[in-house]
Symmetry: D2
Subunit: 466 residues, 4 copies
């Protein structure tokens, strides 16, 4: 075993004779990733110091020195000038050590009535609260793009698909609004998650509460927390809020992966429903003709890493006894990555949707030639008195006939149609236009222009409510 | 390829010349699992039929025949007398076929203005809404047991742990209340999930809405749905509610796995904090001395299958284009299994907690001999003017001394203590009792008896609100 | 708590005063799923009995009675006539109890020198060994179908894609052989997994070995195991083989999901590369024109449940101390489901591939019009001395020009081409045919007909080696 | 949209009019993580250049210039002096651009007959091949530590557990060897995975092979690859090897999590089976008595991130059509993190095991007082002619009696024993010592000293075979 340097920097002094093994230091260190929490650590410490002063645990002068010192440190962090020291393990010890260097003994008093266990829970909650709010705004922006583009394409018809087979014609606006709904649920879920993030754990101490006569409600009010944690053991052992956020993020990324898949499909030569602007596509160093939808592909693929982060934290927490265990240090990297990924993907997909060029003529052509009005033919016959199951069978044979001849139903002359059913009349042609098929689906939530216009208005209203 | 029987039972008649390959029938069939939805399918169909009649799409007589027929079928299902036919693919076709056999042609009209795509979404939402409510009640019951047992053990002290090392003494009641908090969050999450389950998808048709002048709001009111789906494509393509529920269930199971782990630990010979009543343990066919905490172990292990179901649905949904795709049939088995697992585990763990015999003397003994008052010794010195970091170092050395001699801090005579710090006075012995240590942590959420009594009252109040 | 019936059926007699709580019985029972292991349990018991007799632990007469009894029971199981009793917990107790009923006291002696801990590990290994062999044969069959179809379509050209954008022309046979390679790796992995499944755990007893002078190598030889477990604690605690198989199955299902995705794409109206025979597709009860690729969709979706099962077992095993813990009972249902899913999906996909009708004219049309020869134009210019990056840029502009005019490169007259580069000569037209482009990629593993024919021969040879 | 800078650095020139949107650049860039592949990229490029020269595609002079340039770049990379440019997207473009700057036009020729699609697959395979070998050596080292510590503790007895209840006494050496077996399987799996990593993808070009008359077998021999990829589409689309490695790593981490859990348990005050040396533990800044097993906890928790990485890549690959898609860029970060995590955890756990102080007296005490010989008492009675089930019941009652009196079975005088069964004789006391119980389990793989010594020898031999 390599020689150990004397145990000096560690805050646990007396019980240990030996310094920490360098391999252990490296393995347990977290400052290379938890330094991202520095602004939140400082924000939390400032509120803590103000409360300690208010409760008479610190003197006014001590508190002021601490606050001044922390402000200086915050600026160092923001400027990238903070001298991070890996041997100080984590963000908390780094900041506390620097504070003490700056303001002397008072710096050490900042840690009164708290431990790293409740402190790190606080930092993580402050961080996540912020990021959720940022993410919700970004999702809202994306929804706004969807609305804007839907509103501008109210007359564009494309095939609606089930099983990726053309099913019935729908408005492009209607299709885009389906994504609006998904992202609306994402925003709702994030808001609901926020309720459980927005709880103050400070005061829990290492696990059992603190012996000081603190006032956590003051801190909560100062930091904008809606509640104070009701149980100290739970406060330091709980990472539900991380897992819940990751589940929300996984669903959001799943929606983005579905949108990504559709853009990939639509940008394919075979579909050809959209053209990517050059600025939002990439080419190939080998194949000069290529214009690739990399953004949409990555949006689709990046679901994987967020699913993985969710699985990761659930695994970490499985079977963990109370209260704090070091396993919980594994809560951060997956979370940070998921936050970054979700924010970046939402933002770039908004950009992509903003720039996408729809090709209404290709969409319409795809909707026109593929018997998307077959359901309506059956409905037509049903309205003329043919039982639906029978009408369905008639139209099935009719479609087969058309497939064999390579033509659309409405391209058949009336006498041909009548060979399939005598109920067909001249009015059928009017009945079968794409516009008529779309307009007929006027039920609430349906694709008829009137319904979609209503849906657009409702969506705009829902978007206003933050 | 084996011979195909004529295509007769399938509802898609005319376009197909050949019957379905038996291997395909088997592979795509779902009636062996989706029959569980039968009561919900019938409930949904009855509301649909009432609405169709109200809107004049069915005659009063047709609707009544349908309702009568469905009631008979419901009783058949409940009695286990329904003749399920795998060749009819799924629960919907089975019930519709039986209805038509019972009441004739009117049976076929029930399907007017809906498709299996919106119908199955409805069934699944009705099912899940019910099951969430059942589960929330079961969790509440479990919380009640925790409260009752906590209230009855307000004077029991055990070690609080961090890193599974004895840290500070806590009340058993305080420890139990930590789980109350976890389950309270589970109930909150389930309630919030319910908001997004409780949306009516009917009216979306196959994907684009229906051409009939239906009134989904009537159906929503009839079935107790708070909202109607705003977009038909989304309504048939959305399984967020399944994934969101599974995420809630995964967190709940994670909590149960933590509780399970603790019971396994506490029931071990080494901890010995609880005895399992014979009725809640199992033995070994080989080792006559064994009494095993199988229930707690299974509760811990069963987190796995629910995590798996969550990952399963997230995988299914990843990258799926709009709208309905057959992949979505894979939404059910994992969900059913997770519902069963969560409900059974919550219920049996409530039973286990109810029957668990705590061993206060073992808990106290574990709390007494392991320097759990070391923090308080440091606090004592700090209160006497020793800076905390220095006090911490002194106590560290003191603990090492005690470890070497195999004694507790409070067992040392005052002169010995004074060799570590001259600030020690006679009052230290009073200061260091377990009771004093516990009582001192009186901050909100702390383990002091006063704080715990307050927490118990608050918890009881929160439990009253359903 | 409900009244308990007297503890009679349980094999752990004396230490318990109370019977098991019914909720605990239900929660811990496994016979409703582990009965699937019955034939393997019997197979293992027969080998065990033969060894016990050989070692003189059972008399010859006892062993023969046991073997006779087990054979009768096996037939009962196979005929579905075995009277499963849930109160007997699991498959092992059910069979042992029935054996004792049939042959008297000798039945009880079968359990000599083993415990349920090593017995269940044995049963599961026997089961999985069988199923892996079945699955490998099924995968091989699927590979055979791929080879056959590839061999029959050596002249069909379709677009090769990257980013789902047409990239370069490839042979359909080449495309199909890509899947051959994936499934070949699956078979290799399964074979390698088998090595670790095929280890005999019997003799480990409950955890520490047995006190009887048994000969596990005899049992291993009898049952065809390659090795005997080297450590008894590991033998009863190990479920690596389940997790490893599930990882193999997850990769296999991933491949099937990729194939499923491609068939869904190819069957779409937009691609139109394949037609599904009626027998392998399904229709819609509402939309008469629909022919849906449900099998391919389900193959794609079913990856989810197998991924879930993998995550499930990994979660169960995480952080589990030695040796046997009841959590391990959670190893079976996910495994059984994954085995069923993988076997059914491989089989039905082989059927689907066998029946798929390729549409070479559509494939060729898609390959022809989309500048798939652009790379070759650049190569052409490079061969004429233009540096590749410059040639690439020239062809990029040329493609843009063609896109704007809606024509293929080879449709431009030579003077037009020369406006982009004076190096173009008349030989370029010959150079740019699809056939020429394909034939030129003759590197090992490339798509040139010669290379593909070689690959087909190699593949056929590799398939012969089991 | 912000102004775009002119498209200059991109290698896809002509087809694009607009530069890439900065948000897209950021979103699609990979150089901040794939630069880790630089040494492998260079290694692969050097082999490629040598082959191109050998095949006459490059001149000798060109190849030499390239090799010289790449050697210089490699040193820059190793010294940390390479000027990474994020606008050059990825590691490949960065290195190629730098090479061209250094050696002029010949640099551009290096890319002849390859594309980034086969290049990145090559780099990743070279990287992973190396890392697997490193990891296998580290695991072997860990196994060596287990062997050494087992060999040095052949006389230490501790309780063997099932259900975390004391079951039967075992040797500490036997317990440690159980982990040896797990890690042996890990090494086997990694070796088997290596077979599928060790395949050369170069020559696949972008997807269809290359038009140059290259000789991939030369490259394979040069780089030590055992095989050349048989299909170009598969070669660029395949990431099985990543997923398979992650599955191996997940199992390895699972084993480490089990070991971590046991060390946490053993280091607890209640078990007290081990003492952590100060250098391998950490303390608490608040609680002076704490010595925490952070390394073991983190080893347990870090299973989560590797499980997550596995889930991540499986999700990415699910449903992806052929051939290369940009989603595949998501293969790296999870892999890199898993490699780092597995290597660091194996290494630090070897250190921890090396330093762990076993406490044989505590182990023995735990084994002595808890009726671990109960099975043997039953065996004793069985040997005296009592049927085993009856003997088991007798001993069950006997254990209950002892539990009530708080004594061990062997502490009861003979007359007391005889009240439970007249078959007890004086020889029972000899029969029941821990040593006798352990020695009796002499079956292969059992815990008897003779068996364990044999197992140690076998293990040492197996360890020699790399």
């Amino acid at each position: 075993m390599p020689k150990r340097r004397q145990q000096t920097t560690k805050p646990w002094g007396g019980r240990f004779r030996e310094g920490t093994h360098p391999a252990v230091e490296r393995f347990t260190a977290s400052v290379h990733f938890d330094r991202r929490l520095a602004p939140y650590d400082i924000q939390g410490s400032m509120a803590h110091a103000r409360m300690l002063a208010k409760c008479g645990i610190l003197t006014r002068a001590e508190a002021e020195a601490i606050l001044r010192g922390l402000r200086v440190i915050l600026r160092e962090v923001e400027r990238g000038a903070f001298p991070w020291d890996p041997s100080l393990e984590d963000v908390h010890m780094n900041i506390e050590a620097r504070l003490t260097r700056k303001i002397g003994a008072a710096g050490g008093k900042l840690h009164t009535a708290r431990s790293r266990n409740d402190q790190v829970a606080l930092d993580l909650r402050l961080y996540l609260r912020d990021q959720i709010q940022v993410l919700r705004r970004q999702v809202r922006e994306l929804q706004g793009v969807l609305l804007a583009r839907a509103g501008a394409h109210l007359d564009v018809i494309l095939p609606g698909y089930t099983h990726l087979q053309p099913a019935q014609p729908v408005l492009l606006a209607h299709h885009l609004l389906a994504y609006f709904e998904m992202f609306q649920r994402d925003r709702e879920r994030l808001a609901s998650c926020l309720d459980r993030v927005n709880v103050l754990p400070l005061g829990a101490g290492a696990l059992a509460g603190t012996t000081f006569a603190i006032d956590p409600h003051t801190v909560a009010a100062d930091l904008g927390f809606a509640r104070v944690a009701a149980n100290s053991l739970d406060a330091v052992a709980d990472r539900d809020f991380v897992a819940e956020f990751l589940a929300c993020a996984a669903l959001l990324m799943m929606h983005l992966s579905r949108l990504g898949e559709e853009i990939v499909l639509w940008a394919s030569a075979e579909f050809g429903f959209v053209t990517l602007p050059d600025a939002l596509a990439t080419g190939s160093s080998m194949m000069p003709q290529k214009k690739n939808p990399d953004v949409a592909e990555l949006a689709r693929g990046k679901a994987g890493r967020v699913y993985g982060a969710l699985m990761g934290i659930l695994t970490v927490l499985k079977g963990l006894p109370l209260s704090y265990n070091r396993d919980l240090q594994e809560d951060k990297e997956g979370l940070f990555d998921a936050v970054d990924t979700a924010q970046a993907t939402v933002t770039v997909m908004a950009e992509l949707l903003r720039g996408l060029r729809f090709r209404p003529e290709r969409m319409r052509a795809a909707a026109a030639g593929r018997h998307l009005n077959a359901t309506d033919v059956a409905d037509y016959l049903a309205a003329k008195g043919v039982p639906f199951r029978a009408a369905h069978a008639v139209v099935g044979r009719l479609v087969r006939h058309c497939l064999e001849r390579g033509c659309a139903i409405e391209a058949l002359p009336l006498e041909d149609l009548r060979r399939f059913s005598p109920r067909f009349g001249r009015d059928v042609y009017e009945y079968l236009t794409l516009e008529a098929c779309v307009a007929r689906r006027a039920s609430p939530g349906g694709t008829a222009p009137a319904a979609v216009r209503r849906a657009l208005r409702d969506a705009a209203n829902r978007l206003k409510v933050e």
